[in-house]
């Protein structure tokens, strides 16, 4: 190949051809892949990362922020999702907006994430044993605890040890927590009167300069884009991995994994560059870190005579148990200023209804003896409309517009919640043979539905939210609950982890039961999802996975 040909038709001169056989090939440059790559490259191994999406220019961030505010652009436009590359189907009971729920590129979905980083509770690892549904994890909280601490240091978590409901921890967070908002100070006495305990929120966002990134400057657009880089995203981690010697190939979607004479060993990842040329990257170990949709899809696309149902799929569970977190929320207005929308992150939550969602309080939250799942309560700092977004989409201007902005902004309050969804076998990521992507591969079909427990828990979350808002004196104007809930864009469960090869895809070491040199670092391994935002757990699992891969090299 001549030099221009080596860039895969991109035109940037970057070599996108395969290396010789390396120690580790990582598929995906999101949080999990970046952390695995950095850890293994730092330990001296030859690492190649293959990323389907592009390497975004960090100097474009403010322009992307503008897209997130201006009405012409929808959520997928901010990070250029959509089109033939990202075609998908959603034929389940509920529509799934997949391309609003992920980003392809160096940094992955952490480019558009909110940045909330909580540890799962001890109970989350024992859902089947304690509550009789879902599946237990193959290890307990204590096993993951040191990895959580390492993950918090990697991500530079700003947090405080004031959460009485959190699992035990060994040391303070690396950075101090962001102080509570003015809006939080309005909620606090109402919660106290009701007997609801509130506490700070751990954020993967610099409250002080950390790891070469500046402190947050308050753009207020964290989700979907942090222009300043104060929010941790995996592109920072990828740059560190490259400094450690990892090679990252962007615009290189992996088409399939090949096994050789031994069907229990992957020999190469076949990836395509934009010019349509296929390349084979050989490696001793392979780590799939392509998220909860593309990871099972790639395994299913890697079917062969030796693996007729897809790679690592002897259990038939690849793609099964697709699980999300559900949003419940309520909001309204007070008769006083609430100072919302200065920042795009939250500073107060309550995990009081996590381990015991039916517990009442003596002073106003009714008890429930229903079969419920964990609830995480959030007090929003971005309730109600943002003035600039209102300004850009009205039919008025001048003084009439200003009057509308003044009437529409300033007194809103809102609460959110994440609710655990029961893992369901019928919820799955399958291949849709009737549609293909830009490389001719069947697209993912996300089939998704909710069970009665999940809907009951959403209603319970609304009950608690309404009680708090009533105590605050708010006029409730909107509620999102069991009838109109939406997903939190957390893709879990599709290569579930367990000790029984008949009931799971990967083992406690994140290695697939069927293929000895193939591991998965992703929320796709969560057997049960809990109701905490998953990325800190993804990061902890990625570091654990890296340790196991290193042991076998």
């Amino acid at each position: 190949m001549t030099a221009p040909d080596r860039d895969g038709g991109v035109g940037d001169g970057r070599d996108r051809t395969a290396d010789g056989r390396v120690d580790v090939c990582v598929v995906g440059a999101g949080p999990a892949g970046a952390l695995v790559a950095r850890a293994l490259a730092g330990a001296g191994y030859d690492v190649v990362v293959l990323e389907a999406g592009p390497r975004f220019d960090p100097t474009d961030r403010v322009e992307r922020m503008e897209r997130s505010i201006r009405p012409y652009y929808g959520p997928p436009d901010v990070w250029e999702m959509g089109g033939p590359r990202d075609a998908f189907s959603a034929t389940g009971e509920l529509h799934y907006p997949l391309n609003a729920a992920r980003v392809k590129g160096v940094g992955g979905s952490s480019l558009h994430w909110q940045g909330m980083v909580m540890r799962l509770h001890e109970s989350d690892f024992e859902r089947r044993t304690r509550s009789g549904y879902g599946a237990d994890w193959p290890f307990d909280y204590e096993t993951l605890r040191p990895y959580y601490a390492r993950a918090e240091r990697r991500l530079g978590v700003s947090g405080a040890s004031d959460n009485p409901f959190a699992p035990p921890r060994e040391e303070p967070h690396p950075l101090p927590a962001f102080p509570p908002s003015y809006s939080d100070s309005l909620f606090a006495p109402a919660c106290e009167r009701l007997g609801v305990t509130t506490h700070s929120v751990p954020n993967a966002r610099n409250s002080e300069a950390f790891d070469g990134r500046a402190a947050c400057v308050g753009y207020g657009t964290c989700k979907p884009v942090c222009p300043s880089g104060a929010k941790w995203s995996a592109d920072h981690e990828i740059r560190a991995a490259e400094t450690e010697g990892a090679r990252v190939v962007d615009r290189a979607p992996v088409q399939r994994l090949l096994t050789g004479e031994r069907p229990d060993r992957v020999t190469a990842a076949v990836y395509a560059t934009p010019d349509g040329v296929e390349h084979r990257q050989a490696a001793r170990q392979f780590v799939l870190a392509a998220g909860g949709v593309e990871t099972p899809r790639l395994l299913l696309l890697s079917r062969s005579p030796d693996h007729p149902d897809g790679l690592a799929n002897a259990s038939g569970l690849v793609g099964r148990y697709f699980t999300e977190h559900l949003f419940a929320g309520a909001g309204g207005r007070l008769d006083e200023p609430t100072r919302q929308n200065h920042v795009g992150f939250n500073t107060t939550e309550s995990h009081q209804f996590y381990d015991d969602p039916g517990a009442g309080t003596e002073r106003g939250i009714p008890a429930s003896d229903a079969d419920l799942a964990p609830i995480k309560l959030e007090f929003l700092n971005y309730a109600g409309p943002s003035p600039v977004e209102m300004a850009l989409s009205g039919e008025d201007w001048g003084d009439a517009l200003l009057s509308r902005l003044r009437a529409g902004y300033g007194t809103h309050v809102a609460m959110g919640a994440l609710v655990e969804a029961t893992p369901r076998r019928e919820n799955r990521v399958a291949l849709d043979p009737s549609r293909t992507d830009d490389h001719g591969n069947p697209v993912p079909d996300v089939r998704w539905s909710l069970d009665a427990r999940t809907r009951r828990t959403l209603a319970r979350a609304n009950e608690i939210q309404h009680a708090i808002l009533a105590e605050l004196g708010a006029d409730v104007e909107w509620t999102v609950g069991p009838r109109d809930t939406g997903p939190a864009y957390h893709h879990m469960g599709t290569t579930r982890m367990g000790s029984d090869p008949a009931e799971s895809v990967v083992d406690a070491g994140l290695r697939t039961h069927d293929v000895g040199n193939l591991s998965v670092a992703s929320s796709s391994v969560f057997p049960t999802g809990g109701a905490m935002n998953p990325t800190l757990t993804i990061a902890a699992l990625a570091l654990k996975c890296a340790d196991h891969v290193a042991e076998s090299l």
């Binding site: 403010v62 100072r339 003084d399």
Partner: protein, 188 residues
């Protein structure tokens, strides 16, 4: 409320102009002196604008779409557009195309150029074109392009700036890097 060029620089920070574009504005600021209100230097600056007609048309539109209680509109809009154009030439072309539409409609309906119309006629023209009810679209109809490149561009500049935010009661509006102090403060 008097808009200053410092407000324009703050608006440019929200619009992704932190390099050459704002440097151009700052260079002019050094020539012009302090951060005093800008409205009184508009005539001089006209000669220095990157294009003679675009900033005039933007100012003429801002006089319609900005609330009457702000002053210094001309200096704010000129400084903002200078920085914006220098940083993003493609954007400037979009504005030029949209302003061409305004000029064509003005000449067809009123027999004179857009900036020569009085404020009431400019507003009437925008409404007649349907700009007030159009959704912004950089490749859409004339009204949609004017909404995207002219009206919403101006509203974005104003309401992502602390000056515009303060009109509504938020000194660190979405899109402005105003720090992490204001979210903790109560109303004043």
């Amino acid at each position: 409320m008097e808009l200053t060029r410092r407000d324009a620089l703050a608006a440019l920070a929200s619009a992704g102009v932190v390099g050459g574009g704002s440097a151009a504005v700052l260079a002019r600021e050094r020539r012009d002196g302090t951060d005093r209100p800008t409205g009184d230097r508009d005539r001089d600056r006209n000669r220095e604008t990157p294009d003679g007609t675009l900033p005039d048309a933007l100012v003429a539109t801002a006089e319609v779409v900005y609330p009457s209680e702000v002053s210094g509109v001309s200096g704010f809009v000129r400084a903002y557009s200078l920085g914006r154009f220098e940083a993003r030439p493609d954007y400037r072309e979009g504005v030029r195309d949209a302003v061409d539409e305004l000029e064509e409609h003005a000449r067809a309906w009123y027999g004179e150029g857009y900036t020569a119309l009085d404020r009431g006629s400019r507003e009437e023209l925008l409404r007649s074109m349907g700009v007030h009810s159009a959704e912004e679209d950089p490749v859409g109809t004339a009204a949609e392009r004017v909404r995207f490149y002219v009206v919403n561009e101006l509203l974005f500049a104003l309401y992502t700036s602390p000056a515009g935010g303060r009109l509504v009661g938020i000194e660190n509006p979405q899109g402005h890097p105003g720090g992490t102090g204001s979210y903790r403060r109560g109303p004043r």
